[in-house]
Symmetry: C2
Subunit: 341 residues, 2 copies
DNA sequence: AAACTTTTTGAAAGCCCTTTCGGTAAACTA
DNA sequence: TAGTTTACCGAAAGGGCTTTCAAAAAGTTT
């Protein structure tokens, strides 16, 4: 931890300096630079040139103080590798428009105390709103009781159903995956998933089971919960093969990698004999798979975009939804379910 | 893109409100809350209670304006998935101390225009300094000519060797990896790497070659440059086996995964017949490997920490280094080079 | 040339907090 | 009682910018 407080900033050009350099008053300089048309063209140009020469950048902090809006947003996350936070951040940036809003990214590291610290810091900096990103889809406790600015939960909802949240429709995702497998002619579908304590695992399974039922099929074997690892995917595969499954839906891309490995070891051809699909569509995981893996994309960028939009809606009082909003994931078809895709 | 400007903030308690609620003047309220001892204990308590009751959080923006330091830092990155940015951000947070500094994270997406936008936004918000994170270790053009605040380049240096930078000693990393392989008794070391146009690929190879030479060995075959993919790792393995290598150093974890796959397909036992080591130690890639992969950790957290520290050093005028600082990576030994590790 | 309109400029207030400095009331000493 | 010290409190300034409003300059009309 750094203890020495940094010295004051080196002199940065102020509006006053620009005005002086251009030989006009503060007020005129302000109007000239802000495009107010009560300024003579020649005066404006002189001011503009002075500003450019001095590298003047207006102090947004002051403007924020004046307007009561800081043009900043806080993003509080708990996911250490940024796997969810980064796409969501980028989606939010897209919604705001480049450079219009700046985002404070805070990693609370699953620590309530640290989260509280960050929250106070954000409130002190008068962010216009806060987006809270979960590290999984489980419900999480609300940030705090009384917060004077809008809060939108992204990816994981808060336990208070009245809080604004934008999340993935995991159940629908499970159903969509199964519908795709059925559409490619599969009838004996098995499901290997992750830790049953995760809401995502249960939701995906529920959607998958429902879709089977809707199609008049019964899932092959029980939902095989385990861990979100390749090792579990490998370990669970023999049992599924013994059940003579012709399709395996995996709870995550990692599990699917393990399954693909095990199938290759067992000389089972994918997708001819068995189709494999999974959840997350996490690029680095997908990249090296043989064959390339069909996966449900969770549209994290879209989640970030919607979260940012809802923040704005609440701020501007034009709210259209309230409470939890579920986004439909997107199926990305690749070679593990359709040969050559 | 959101067009409606948000309405002004809902009323947030100001110090004035607290003072009024406690029946004291502004100045007394300030002193009471800031622990100045020219305030009666009972007065202080009354003020404190009023502040708590109103949920008062002091406006950092004003304090920043007064002190000329905003207590914020900008982090400009170009890496879309946050693979480098997130660990570096967290390292920086550690250096600053939780909640003391807030970090604006900006993704420029390899777009100079966007980068310029973000830079202006950051300067306007009067960040105390900027850390620039590269998406690879190649030199990058400096942010801009005249910036009135310190800039530290992390992971990728700027083309101006006078600019402050904290990067990985890739060459040393290559050497360390080879030294480890030699220490475990290997004599016929091959190197499969990524795209030769990347500085990282060439630096790692140079270090590896030098270490071989130092040990009186010659690398088996040429450095096999290709792409940073599993597919390349698989494709390059047969040639290396034909060279009768007993160790394969891979340019990245992904390449190593491909190599491990190919070795298993060829029934070559790892690490008994061939040892495999790689670079990056990227957790999600490493997690599922069989056997677990020995890898050079690039210590990105440390890079972030040092970058933040140097920012402070420059700000406080206690700079000890200048220019480029190289951090030694860390070897993480696992089962792919040492049985049972 | 005087009276008036239009255009352009500048002085000053306000935003919220910290800090300095002057002032008041209480407690104390002579 | 008068004078002195101490403890506490509050008025006011300052920081950079925008905005309002009044004043000055320029131009137009009679």
């Amino acid at each position: 931890m750094v203890t020495d407080a940094p010295a004051p900033l080196p002199a940065q050009a102020r509006l006053r300096d620009v005005a002086q350099a251009a030989g006009v008053s503060l007020a005129t300089a302000s109007k000239a630079l802000n495009g107010k048309n009560e300024v003579n063209a020649s005066t404006r140009q002189r001011v503009q040139e002075a500003a450019d020469r001095l590298g003047f950048v207006p102090n947004t902090l002051v403007q924020a103080m004046l307007q009561g809006r800081s043009g900043t947003v806080g993003l509080i996350t708990n996911d250490l590798d940024g796997r969810f936070a980064m796409p969501i951040l980028m989606g939010a940036e897209d919604a705001f428009g480049a450079g219009k809003m700046s985002v404070f990214l805070c990693d609370a590291r699953e620590d309530a105390i640290r989260e509280q610290y960050h929250l106070t810091a954000l409130l002190g900096r008068r962010v216009d709103g806060i987006i809270v990103v979960g590290s999984n889809t489980d419900q999480r406790p609300p940030l705090a009781a009384r917060i004077p600015i809008p809060v939108v939960y992204a990816y994981a909802p808060s336990t208070d159903p009245g809080d604004a949240a934008v999340i993935v429709d995991e159940r629908r995702g499970g159903a969509m995956a199964v519908e795709h497998l059925i559409a490619t002619g599969r009838r004996r579908i098995a499901h290997i998933s992750g830790d049953v304590s995760y809401t995502a695992a249960r939701d995906r399974a529920a959607g998958a089971l429902a879709a089977c039922e809707d199609a008049g099929l019964t899932m092959v074997g029980p939902v095989r919960y385990g861990t979100w690892t390749e090792a579990w995917g490998r370990a669970a595969t023999p049992a599924v093969l013994a059940d003579r499954a012709d399709a395996i839906l995996c709870g995550s891309d990692q599990i699917a990698r393990g399954v693909l490995d095990a199938l290759r070891d067992a000389s089972v051809s994918v997708p001819d004999q068995v189709a494999v699909a999974s959840f997350d569509n996490w690029e680095p995981m997908i990249a090296g798979t043989r064959p390339s893996l069909t996966s449900m994309d969770m549209q994290l960028g879209l989640i970030g975009k919607r979260a940012a939009e809802r923040l704005f809606e609440i701020l501007s009082g034009t709210e259209t939804h309230s409470g939890i909003e579920k986004l439909i994931p997107r199926l990305v078809v690749r070679g593990s379910t359709v040969a050559g895709a």
